[in-house]
Amino acid sequence: MTIFKFTAAAAVTALLAFTAAASEAPVPPAQSWSFSGPFGTYDRAALQRGFQVYKEVCAGCHSLRHVYYRDLAALGYNEDEIKAIAASVEVQDGPNDQGEMFTRPGRPYDRFKSPFPNDNAARAANNGALPPDLSVITKARPHGHDYLYALMTGYKEPPADMKMTEGMQYNTAYAGNQIAMVPPLSEGSIEYKDGTKATVPQMARDVTVFLAWTAEPEMEERKRLGYKVLLFLLVLTGVLYAAMRRVWSKVH
């Protein structure tokens, strides 16, 4: 049995090493999020602040193609507020009965308006770099939430010995430390509607919460349903175990 024990220990070590060596970008420091853990939920106030950061800062370059204005109901906005938010943008529609495209104010059933008509236009406006769509960004990066926060707060002066490429920014969280995105957040660059002080870490946190929601809008429902399912399965499995013991008690 000693070989068995040795094997088991080695297997556990191998698995730990496996989980540790996943990606190239530095592992971002872990933050505490209200939505972590089996009972975690999104903080509605943070979601609304984060939406404001997205709308006033990120939306200049980054699309949110998979999100509809109607989805904002989950943030605590009522129908009239959502209609007003949607109507604040002009979207293209058509063709009309003359065969022509026209613009109209957005409606709740429209997708979030993208800042650029296509990827080429986005690249042309951004020095050749393509600002990624942010709909599922927290799922699309390892340690997505912590990474996003680290990225937003990771802009520093480059070390003296580092050769920076023209037009690139130094960022401690980004793989290779050179990122095309200019520092998006600066102290007081927006004015929160709820009076919260708009520091860079505060805005970084809020926009991360908002993008966590855009990536996993089902999370709260998923966790709520999850513990009911698990509770049911635990009871069922217990009953099945008792039944099995009883049936098998006749076998000798």
């Binding site: 070989i3 496996f18 089996p38 966790k223 399912v229 399965l233 039944a243």
Partner: protein
């Protein structure tokens, strides 16, 4: 016709005389004499069957909402996640179901290796199982391509490119597989079609697997044949209830993943839409294919790697003849029961190595594990059977049970 079906009502009797489905079920699922000493490792076969059913059921609903087109595939999956009623649940059950399927099947295979379930008279049963494994791999690989994320696209590119290693006809074969000169829309559409087809082929082979099982009958932890009625019990209720309990345990693990860590086993990179112009930092398959990926990459030569990777599975087909020991169960093989665990370790190490960049220490460790994998099967198994001093086999299945 069996006695119990005559106790049934007139309708059942009328049907059964024309199409004996009821007496068939009675015979194969109820009376089927099963060794009474099966342990929990014998749960995994039926678990695999149930996961297959879950995969097909969820897959049918996903297919109703999925669009196999390079411009729409990624978006249609996101639409399933957001706008289809409980679409997120169906997709997460399907996605994690693939991991569960392989987990359960790998345990099932290792159980067969430990207790010698591949030995006479179960060689064809073993072959059919290996064919199921190959079909599963093809199905899982093509399913992973469907969301059309970065890993989907580049995984498809790497794996289909393996065929270009074949001398002379390699390049034309790859073009033929792709339906073009790169992984593109025709590739996605045929993969979708095949991903829908192959699970039903798996069902058919599972049926054959069951026919072979019920012909040769179940092996058991002692590896000896049942001698009398005292050694067996009817499948129902004893193993139906035991399999139900096992299913409960599996579902707890499975659903914990689905509801609380649905993306834990996946690559974040696959939530980035496919981009043929940008190769990801690392291209890695899902965890269940990593050991084979490690074997592939342990050979510096492309053709050699491909040959070795396919050999690692095909060699298992001849295992019934490579293993020269007359004793089935490792319980009575003092050396084999130790080296078996080293073999398990080698497979786990291969999985780890497959996830690393193929360089430095990780590459060396991967090569050593690959070498050991083949050493175990090709050299150790034939030699052990000849020289190992096995422990005496018990008189019958009920004999050792009665002693305790």
């Amino acid at each position: 016709m069996s006695a119990s079906s005559q106790q049934q009502g007139p309708v059942v009797r009328w049907i059964d005389q024309r199409l004996p489905i009821f007496s068939f079920l009675q015979h194969e699922l109820h009376e089927y004499p099963t060794p009474k000493n099966l342990n929990y490792w014998w749960n995994f076969g039926s678990l695999a069957g149930i996961v297959l059913v879950i995969m097909i059921a969820t897959g049918i609903f996903l297919a109703m909402n999925y669009t196999p087109h390079v411009d729409h595939a990624f978006d249609s999956v996101e639409r399933i996640m957001r706008d289809v009623n409980y679409g997120w649940l169906i997709r997460y059950v399907h996605m994690n179901g693939a991991s569960m399927f392989f987990l359960v099947v790998y345990i099932h295979i290792f159980r067969g290796l430990y207790y010698g379930s591949y030995k006479p008279p179960r060689e064809l049963l073993w072959w059919l199982g290996l064919i199921i494994l190959l079909l599963m791999m093809a199905t899982a690989f093509m399913g992973y391509v469907l969301p059309w994320g970065q890993m989907s696209f580049w995984g498809a590119t790497v794996i289909t490119n393996l065929f270009s290693a074949i001398p002379w006809v390699g390049e034309p074969i790859v073009t033929w597989l792709w339906g073009g000169f790169a992984v593109d829309n025709p590739t996605l559409q045929r993969f979708f079609s095949l991903h829908y087809l192959l699970p039903f082929v798996i069902v058919a082979v599972v049926m054959l697997h069951l026919v072979a099982l019920h012909t040769a009958k179940s092996n058991n932890p002692l590896g000896i044949d049942p001698k009398s009625d005292k050694d067996t019990i009817p499948f129902h209720p004893y193993y139906t209830i035991k399999d139900s309990f096992g299913l409960g345990v599996l579902l707890i693990v499975y659903m914990a993943l689905v509801f609380y860590a649905p993306n834990a086993l996946g690559e974040a990179e696959n939530y980035v839409p496919a981009n043929p112009l940008q190769t990801p930092e690392e291209i890695v398959p899902e965890w269940y294919l990593l050991p084979f990926y490690a074997i592939l990459r342990s050979v510096p030569d492309k053709l050699g790697g491909v040959v070795l990777m396919f050999a690692s599975i095909f060699i298992l087909f001849v295992l019934p003849w490579l293993d020269t020991s007359k004793v089935r169960s490792a319980r009575f093989r003092p050396i084999y029961r130790q080296v078996f665990w080293i073999f398990v370790l080698a497979c786990i190490v291969l999985g780890w190595a497959g996830a690393q960049k193929p360089e430095g220490a990780a590459l060396m460790i991967g090569r050593l594990a690959t070498a050991y994998y083949f050493f175990h099967l090709l050299i150790l198994m034939p030699i052990l059977g000849k020289f190992e001093k096995t422990r005496p086999l018990p008189e019958s299945i009920s004999q050792p049970v009665l002693k305790n």
